[in-house]
């Protein structure tokens, strides 16, 4: 599991790659939690290279999303692979988390071009 991040003025981009299982979930919780701390408005997690995730990983997503919402921010996920999307849907996360088809759509929704330019 690796997590690369890019912090923009009003958007934090996090690219999550590899596998997230029960063992790596703790590490993800720490890293993504730290990222949520420094994020002002919106956190977008790009899951295009995420090959596997289980319920422990989803719990981390849930915690982070709740933390962002409590702080008045926004947390979204994009570019889910079919496997991961299946897990999301099986557990019902598609109902409670914001999911986008790909990064472009996500950025358009979260941070409109003019806001980005600013």
């Amino acid at each position: 599991m690796t997590l690369e991040s890019e912090i923009l003025p009003d958007l934090t981009l996090a690219k999550l790659s590899g596998q997230v299982d029960t063992l790596t979930a703790t590490e993800l919780e720490m890293k993504l939690g730290d990222l949520a701390e420094v994020t002002k408005r919106a956190l977008l997690v790009d899951c295009s290279d995420l090959t596997y995730i289980n319920s422990a990983g989803l719990r981390v997503f849930l915690i982070v999303a709740k933390k962002m919402e409590t702080a008045g921010g926004l947390c979204a996920f994009c570019s889910l692979t079919p496997n991961v999307r299946l897990v999301f849907e099986t557990i019902g996360f598609d109902r409670i988390l914001k999911l986008y088809e790909n990064r472009a759509v996500a950025l358009e929704q979260i941070a409109p071009p003019q806001a980005q330019a600013a």
Binding site: Q19, D21, T22, L23, A25, Y52, N54, S55, A56, L58, R59, V60, L62, I63, K66, E89, T90, I91, G92, F93, R95, I96
Partner: protein
């Protein structure tokens, strides 16, 4: 190899091998060289001094003899001149000369018969010293016949002046003496030399010469020796040898070396006592004598020996001082090191309270000792920490084991132990749960809501360990609290979900399947909250998935209206419930177990009983994830619908 062996062993033996022995060898080498030099220089010095002394005394003797030798010459010239004509004058002259010339014992004028004194065959006036006075006598037979003596015959025959070998002048001087004899002749009227007329002599007492020589100081125990032309000993400290022995008989080597007229310094034997000695010799030209100075060898080398002795003492003291100081240094290093080693052994033996309290002066060893003390202290601290930690861990483990027992006790008993349940016989059921750690987040439950309806619950709390276990316990308790015959499946789910949503700040949620089977009719109502759907395996061996509406996992969405699905089982059907720990078990190559493999396994083992089926699946999953740490809990539950038995 040799060098490496030199470097082995204790510090002390290394010091000895590498410093003391080479130093001693070096010092001995230097000592050897110095010894050779000292002895050579001693010989050279002794040679120079001895030769010089020999020359001086030879010359002195020579001069004395030469001076005395002039007296008979004077007699001869006087007689040849014919100035003295009468016996009276001659006698007075002779007496006068002897009394006034020091260093001579006597003087004699011996004439041919009937020459100076007519009618006198034996005319030989002789003046000599006796008791401090000068006596005069005429030597006549039978007491003394001068014609018979060498001192008269030889000059007469040879016709020149000569020294006569020492002899005892019996009847003349009556002493051991050497004589200078000079022939004189008649003078012809024309002044030329005529016939032989007589011999003029002087006698020098050997005692006088010996006295002179014995006063010559030759070292401390050395002595001077005078040899005649023929090699006879004229003078030496041993009076018994004088005039009686030739040097050749005592020391032939020395006798041959001392060629008349030569000088030298040779290493030979002392002719008198045959001990080793150095002999310097020089000629006494006038009389053709040889003067020898004999130095005992130990005297020549006395200074050298003393110097050598002192040096030996210095070398010995230096080497032993070096040895002692190195020994002390080695000991001052090795003793604390040995004590450190002993202390280390004691500490290794478990005596951590042992303290190393040795005063050490050497900085390096002192550092070692303080490092050692610090190490002991740290070790003790670590040991106590470790003891504390392990005690803590043991307690934790004990508590976790207790928690595991409690958790396991919350699960229903084996189906075979539930024979008291109604309709037990129409159902076969077997479940296996395998937590990844001591306690886990998976759970299952089954109970009859009423005599006909059997509720089956299988769930998986997100995460694992103690938090998951607590959440699982809560979920299970909630189901037990809310499940009642009056309530619908959907209603129970909604209540439990709402209760769990209150705890949602933990981020925990639980995926589960809640199924209610009417064991009499075979109707199955199932509610799936984010859980993998179960399989149905028909008696014919066909496998299908029981697909009901999907609902979100419990604890995520409040006030959710859970939908259920309804299915009809036929006798012989089997249901297989599982948690994602089965299909998502990893192997060492990070490959998942997969649904496909599970389905294949179920189909292949469709004829097995439910307990065999669950065991087969667990065994296959374990085979897959061999050598890989289980990352998630595993739960399988199989239900066999037998149908209502008649009777």
């Amino acid at each position: 190899m040799l060098f490496r062996r030199l470097l082995q062993g204790s510090l002390q033996s290394r010091f000895t091998r590498l410093i003391v022995i080479p130093s001693a060898a070096f010092l001995l080498l230097v000592l050897g060289l110095v010894t050779v030099r000292i002895f050579r220089s001693a010989v050279e010095q002794a040679q120079a001094a001895a030769l010089n002394l020999a020359r001086i005394h030879a010359t002195k003797l020579d001069r004395a003899l030469a001076e005395a030798a002039r007296v008979p010459d004077m007699h001869a010239r006087l007689l040849e001149s014919g100035l003295i004509e009468d016996q009276e004058t001659l006698h007075r002259y002779l007496t006068d000369v002897v009394s006034r010339t020091g260093g001579i014992y006597g003087s004699c004028l011996a004439f041919q018969p009937n020459t100076f004194a007519p009618e006198e065959r034996n005319y030989c006036p002789y003046a000599y010293r006796s008791g401090g006075k000068t006596e005069f006598s005429l030597l006549t037979p039978p007491a003394y016949d001068h014609f018979l003596w060498d001192w008269y015959q030889q000059p007469k025959r040879l016709g020149h002046a000569m020294w006569i070998e020492p002899f005892f002048d019996e009847g003349g001087g009556n002493v051991l003496m050497i004589t200078r004899a000079v022939p004189f002749y008649h003078t012809k009227p024309d002044g030329s030399k005529g016939d032989f007329k007589g011999v003029a002599t002087i006698d020098i007492s050997l005692d006088q010469i010996t006295a002179g020589l014995s006063s010559v100081k030759v070292g401390e125990t050395g002595y001077a020796m005078l040899l005649s032309t023929e090699g006879r000993i004229i003078a030496c400290p041993d009076a018994s040898k004088v005039m009686k022995v030739r040097l050749e008989d005592l020391n032939p080597v020395l006798a041959h070396s001392m060629m008349p007229g030569s000088e030298g310094f040779i290493n030979t034997f002392n002719p008198l006592d045959q001990k080793e000695a150095w002999v310097a010799f020089a000629p006494v030209q006038t009389a053709n004598f040889m003067l020898a100075l004999v130095y005992p060898a130990d005297e020549v080398f006395r200074n050298a020996y003393r110097l050598l002795g002192e040096m030996l003492i210095i070398v010995f003291v230096a080497v032993s001082g070096l040895f002692v100081s190195l020994w002390l240094v080695a000991r001052s290093v090795s003793r604390p090191v040995n004590k450190l080693a002993a202390a280390a052994r004691r500490i290794a033996g478990g005596d951590l309270d042992h303290r190393f309290n040795e005063a050490v002066n050497i900085d390096e060893v002192h550092d070692l000792a303080s490092a050692f003390t610090k190490m002991t202290r740290d070790l003790k601290m670590r040991m106590e920490e470790l003891r504390h930690t392990s005690a803590l861990r043991e307690r934790m483990e004990g508590e976790l084991n207790a928690a595991r027992r409690i958790q396991m006790s919350m699960l229903p008993k084996q189906w075979s132990d539930r024979a008291d349940w109604p309709e037990h016989a129409s159902i076969a059921l077997h479940a296996i749960i395998q937590p990844a750690r001591e306690v886990g987040g998976d759970f299952y439950d089954y109970r009859f809501l009423d005599p006909e309806r059997l509720s089956i619950l299988i769930g998986d709390v997100s995460g694992k360990g103690v938090p998951a276990a607590l959440f699982m316990a809560m979920t299970q308790t909630l189901f037990q609290a809310h499940a009642s015959p009056e309530r619908t499946v959907s209603g129970i789910m909604t209540r439990v979900n709402d209760a769990l949503c209150d705890e949602s700040h933990t981020g925990m949620f639980v995926t589960l399947l809640y199924a209610v089977l009417n064991v009499r009719t075979g109707t199955l109502e199932i509610c799936n909250a984010g859980h993998p759907p179960p399989y149905r395996l028909s008696a014919a061996g066909e496998l299908d998935t029981i697909k009901s509406d999907r609902n979100p996992a419990l604890g995520l969405v409040r006030n959710f209206d859970f939908s259920t699905g309804s299915f009809q089982l036929t006798p012989g059907d089997r249901l297989f419930f599982y948690t994602d720990g089965v299909t998502e078990a990893f192997n060492t190559a990070k490959e998942l177990y997969t649904h496909q493999r599970l389905e294949n396994l179920l189909v292949a083992n469709g004829n097995l009983s439910v307990d065999q089926l669950t065991q087969t699946v667990i065994a296959d999953v374990q085979l897959h994830s061999l050598n890989h740490e289980a990352s998630d809990d595993l739960t399988v539950l199989a239900v066999g619908y037998v149908g209502r038995k008649q009777g």
